[in-house]
């Protein structure tokens, strides 16, 4: 029983990463209709920026939590402005292929420079150590990841669903011409949205750096799972991705206790099931 609780807690922490990453993906798809395959590579970029800040400039974890997402966001804005914009009028599958190519390039460049075994990033001193929960020893840092990602996810949901800015963004996707006619600068909103979406990935990267080895393969290991999460949750639904992300972490943890070999495949089985029964996803709107 203890083993179960312990795995569930670990699963929840992993779910936090799924939630953060799928949140960014869902925002980008929901508002831009772009399937951002480069999301994993940008997550990896965030982790490397954090590592680079520490390694080359002595800038620690705290500031990195803010700087790295900013850097990744800027990179995203540049990518959107120069490349993605050109393909909006075409089938979204082209953007999928474009971002897939970008992911290959980014990951390949990092692989050449850093090899694939990864750099190490120490857990910040303030968060070292662990708490005795009775059934397991929970490292403070993982608890912190859980809390902070929950906060960020809910804050993002709040901004998109409950504020004026969010409603502008949602309106802009539904009917860009009309919203533009109202005087809102739609292309700029779209660019900013993409930047925000990938900044979330960059933020997740900083969170990941102390626990997972900072290696170029960081993103590709997780991107397919994150896609599955977004599809299950409902491709444009913010709350859907958050809930599904955490839930999947829990389900994976459970699977690890019951039938460990299947823990990697369970998300895809779920995805296939959801797509067949409720194609819009658990929280999506049927189109």
């Amino acid at each position: 029983m203890q083993a179960l609780y312990a795995q569930l807690v670990i699963g929840l922490v992993n779910g936090a990463f799924y939630a953060l990453l799928s949140l960014g993906l869902a925002i980008i798809f929901g508002l831009l209709n772009v399937i951002n395959f480069a999301h994993g590579a940008l997550y990896m970029l965030g982790a490397f920026v954090a590592w680079g800040l520490l390694h080359y400039a002595g800038i620690g974890y705290g500031p990195a939590l803010i700087i790295a997402p900013l850097v990744v966001g800027v990179v995203g804005v540049i990518l959107e402005r120069t490349l993605l914009q050109r393909l909006y009028r075409l089938d979204p599958l082209y953007n999928l292929l474009l971002t897939f190519g970008l992911a290959l390039v980014i990951q390949g460049l990092f692989q050449m420079r850093f090899g694939s075994s990864g750099e190490s990033y120490e857990i910040p001193a303030a968060l070292q150590g662990s708490a005795n929960l009775g059934f397991m020893q929970l490292p403070y840092y993982r608890g912190w990841v859980l809390i902070v990602s929950l906060v960020v996810c809910l804050a993002t949901w709040f901004v998109t669903e409950r504020t004026k800015l969010g409603s502008y963004l949602r309106a802009a996707t539904e009917n860009p011409a009309l919203v533009q006619a109202f005087g809102v600068n739609v292309p700029r909103m779209i660019t900013v949205t993409y930047g925000l979406g990938v900044a979330l990935a960059g933020f997740a990267g900083v969170l990941a750096a102390p626990i997972f080895p900072v290696s170029p393969g960081l993103g590709s290991e997780v991107i397919i799972v994150v896609f599955a999460v977004v599809v299950i949750g409902g491709m444009g639904s913010i709350m859907g991705s958050i809930v599904t992300g955490f839930a999947l972490g829990l389900i994976e943890g459970l699977t690890k206790v019951v039938y460990p070999a299947a823990s990697g495949a369970v998300v895809f089985a779920l995805m296939a099931l959801v797509l067949l029964v409720r194609p819009a996803g658990l929280f999506g709107k049927a189109s």
């Binding site: 090899g115 694939s116 490292p139």
Partner: protein
């Protein structure tokens, strides 16, 4: 049918484009024809197949290439009047990449001998191809004892170490000190499985019990769920049947979850000096491990290691890299006697016939199943206080003499060993 003109256009276009494609391909291939000719003419080519950028790149990688080059230079650059060339490639820890490179090396670049090859699954594949083409394979990086056991070959010699030797040295040592219940964290491929199997035999033979195991993918990122399972098994010893980057991550993440603090011991079944460097003495102190080579063992190893370190920005050689040097030297000696490198089986037979002694591994012999035999040494990692300088990491616990350190040929299951 109206289709006909279109079909002609289709086919002729395909012809032109295929010609273009093949033309570009042929341009790439021109030099290979040249090297084929010269190999027949008289050149010995050594192929260093290693992991250049992955989790084994520090214990082998570019250091192995440097070791091979040092051996060639120390031998004089040529053997029996033929110049020696060293080529290298990255197998990315994938058997298909490795065997593809080796096949092409044999077919088009006239490579005569493959050395190093960490990652047992690649090594097993390479051993197959080498036997088919009658070349030579000198394995230093890979660990699976199957290379001289059920997968043995008259074209392969296994240098440096193997999983049986590690089990016999480290495993036995830990059980001797009270480690009688084990839980394995195993890398899910040939090496991990072989190591777990060999250590399990030692544990059970000494009256201990294996409470369970968990297999993790090679180069896994997060060991937390595996470590939690190891923790809940309450085994006294958590055996790490993995290597390189995986071992480092396991030990680091175990520290996060307070596993050692709560009373379980981590047993690094295959640990290299490069791993200790990456972990740092504070984390690694007290670890029991076995190596057949340590730079600071005696004057002979110290002298050679300093020369090596000078070429590698001060990084001391690992057991694998020393194995590459030693195996290449012995190979070149055999080729010098035979005056030819063409017949792989003959070269290996010669290598097995000649006594193998060098300052790196001391006195040694080679068994008929291809197992190089030398002493193994059980070490314990020093604490930061005990260490007097950079790379001063080990204190010697005991030496396992050559005749006991490795599995007896009769027990190996190798088809080359005649039944008595």
């Amino acid at each position: 049918m109206l289709n006909l003109p279109k079909r002609i256009a289709d086919t002729s276009m395909a012809v032109i484009l295929c010609a273009a494609a093949l033309g570009s391909v042929t341009a790439c291939k021109k030099d290979s024809a040249a090297s084929k000719g010269s190999a027949a003419g008289g050149k010995v080519v050594i192929g260093v197949l290693t992991d250049m950028s992955g989790l084994y790149s520090d214990l082998a990688g570019k250091g192995s290439v440097a070791a091979a080059e040092m051996a060639v230079a120390d031998f004089g650059g040529s053997v029996a009047g033929m110049p020696i060339e060293v080529v290298s490639a990255d197998h990315q820890n994938k058997p298909d990449v490795g065997s593809g490179v080796v096949r092409e090396w044999f077919d088009t670049k006239g490579v005569d001998v493959i050395v190093d090859v960490p990652t047992s699954s690649v090594a097993l594949a390479v051993s197959d191809v080498t036997r088919d083409k009658n070349k030579v394979f000198l394995a230093s990086g890979a660990g699976s004892s199957d290379l001289t056991g059920k997968a043995c070959s008259p074209n392969t010699i296994h240098w440096a170490y193997d999983t049986w030797a590690l089990a016999n040295a480290t495993g036995r040592e830990i059980v001797k000190h009270g480690g009688d219940t084990w839980f394995f964290l195993t890398a899910d491929y040939a090496f991990g499985a072989a190591l777990e199997r060999d250590v399990t035999k030692v544990v059970e033979a000494s009256g201990g019990k294996v409470l369970g195991d968990i297999k993790h993918p090679l180069n896994a990122a997060d060991f937390s769920s595996f470590l939690l399972q190891a923790q809940s098994s309450q085994a006294k010893i958590i055996g790490l049947a993995n290597a390189g980057g995986d071992t480092i991550k396991s030990i680091k993440q175990a520290a996060e979850f307070g596993i050692v603090a709560k009373g379980q011991k981590m047993a690094g079944l295959l640990v290299f000096i490069s791993d200790i460097k990456a972990l740092g003495l504070a984390t690694a102190q007290g670890l029991t491990l076995s190596e057949s080579f340590y730079w600071d063992r005696d004057d002979g190893t110290r002298a050679w290691s300093k020369k090596f370190a000078a070429k590698r920005d001060g990084a001391m050689p690992t057991m694998v890299q020393a194995g590459v040097y030693s195996s290449v030297m012995h190979y070149l000696k055999a080729v010098a006697e035979l005056k030819s490198a063409k017949d792989g089986k003959a070269v290996v037979a010669k290598m097995e016939a000649m006594p193998a002694e060098d300052p790196l591994f001391g006195k040694g012999t080679i068994d008929p199943n291809g197992r190089k035999r030398h002493s193994m040494y059980v070490y314990e990692v020093k604490s930061p206080a005990e260490s007097k300088g950079d790379w001063d990491f080990y204190k010697l616990i005991r030496e396992v003499p050559a005749d006991q350190a490795f599995r007896a040929p009769a027990d190996s299951g190798c088809s080359l060993i005649a039944k008595p």
